[in-house]
Symmetry: C2
Subunit: 248 residues, 2 copies
């Protein structure tokens, strides 16, 4: 990760057996990470853990001390396996019960006959939590201290991020530039190592790919300093020209 | 997670800034998880961490004590940002250098002129590690104690798993049955909670979905005991019949 004087970092805790069993493919990490980067926050760790209260409590308490922001995804629905809200209350030693404002939001969202016990459960959370507005499906997310609890369904999660932007105070934004080459990593490893050593303020990533029979490498240069990225990319372009490597 | 007398568990450590920045979508968790489940091993934690030696060492040392098997993905290629092998050597306090057998494999794989410094680096690892055969692209993975180091490129990783099967000693296999309903979670939360309380030896997951305008819920019943799954599913079918909920 790039070190800057104004570095702000974050972690995600994905709560859900369905991701661990391979039944469901996580799509939220990429969405949250890109959204955070635009706000000047670097995602530095992700944990995927099961729906077990003790495990959630331990991980939340461990992770919240290490990062400026923590996002949890999943486990805030109406069924018996949705135990995130209760676990967060336990982690922070807070009262768990009906959250007045959340209850009122859900009461308005559903007609009287449709406001079932299951739906009422979605208003149960740490009673003093701040709420995260949900424009898609009513049931709000919530915030306790630096922990932001979001649902697991990608479309709903995505719709809730916009309303959070004014709550996140980021640092310098990480910029990036990608150069994609028709080559294999071994051919560029040595010059790339030298360039990385020259430009300490950048982070150069090298990512091989094999797509539809085509082999290539994407070089990604990341930094908070756009001039440094420009100079670094110039050096990369010089050596690929010298080595007669084609770009894609 | 389901408790059985013969429970064998595992964790994955994904090493790669490209996953954390959202540039690359991880596809390996689902593949490894399903492969492990067939062998009777439950995946219980995943961590995604950056390409930073200190972070890798800390996480490997922390995780290897907690689980029967640990799999790392990524960071074993030829470029400067591939630091998994060196970090694993450090975590286990082992000598890092050219692994004789790995060197010999790569020497045979490439012609003399093509065996560049970059490619030779892929033979550098803990010198006493066991190797994992790579039928796709030559460069082997390696094993130290209960830590299995695999590449990040999904097609290569997948091709290497077959050769590992005789090294994994699993417990009882977790079986599962899915019932998919045209309903929303709140409608089934209460009866499902009761059934979960009745069948303690099963784990019932409830997963809502919103696809192409269609709303539904998949109920997944998991257990090592197929008779228990059958009885539990019978109870679920009884209540959905009673509530006149359609299956999909």
């Amino acid at each position: 990760m790039i070190k800057t004087k104004q570095k702000v970092n974050a972690a995600i805790i994905i709560i859900g057996n369905e991701i661990l069993t391979g039944r469901t493919q996580d799509l939220n990490v990429a969405v949250i990470s890109k959204w955070l980067n635009d706000l000047g926050v670097q995602l530095e760790e992700v944990r995927i853990i099961p729906d077990i209260e003790k495990v959630i409590v331990t991980n939340v308490n461990n992770i919240k001390k290490k990062f400026n922001y923590v996002f949890t995804t999943g486990g805030i629905g109406p069924t018996h396996d949705d135990i995130t809200a209760k676990s967060i209350a336990k982690a922070f030693n807070l009262k768990y019960g009906y959250h007045k404002k959340a209850y009122s939001i859900l009461e308005k969202y559903y007609s009287k006959n449709d406001f079932t016990e299951g739906r009422k459960k979605m208003a149960m959370m740490p009673t003093k939590a701040s709420l995260i507005f949900n424009p898609s499906s009513g049931a709000p997310g919530f915030i306790v201290d630096n922990v932001y609890c979001l649902p697991g369904v990608p479309s709903i999660l995505k719709s809730m991020l916009d309303g959070l932007e004014d709550k996140i105070k980021g640092g310098k934004k990480i910029l990036n530039k990608t150069i994609t080459l028709k080559t294999v990593e071994s051919e560029i490893a040595e010059p790339l190592r030298k360039i990385q050593n020259k430009y300490k303020g950048t982070e150069i990533g090298s990512y091989p790919f094999f797509k539809q029979g085509k082999v290539g490498v994407s070089i990604v240069v990341r930094s908070t300093d756009k001039n440094l990225i420009f100079d670094c990319c110039k050096d990369i372009k010089d050596f690929i020209k010298e080595k007669k490597i084609e770009t894609i």
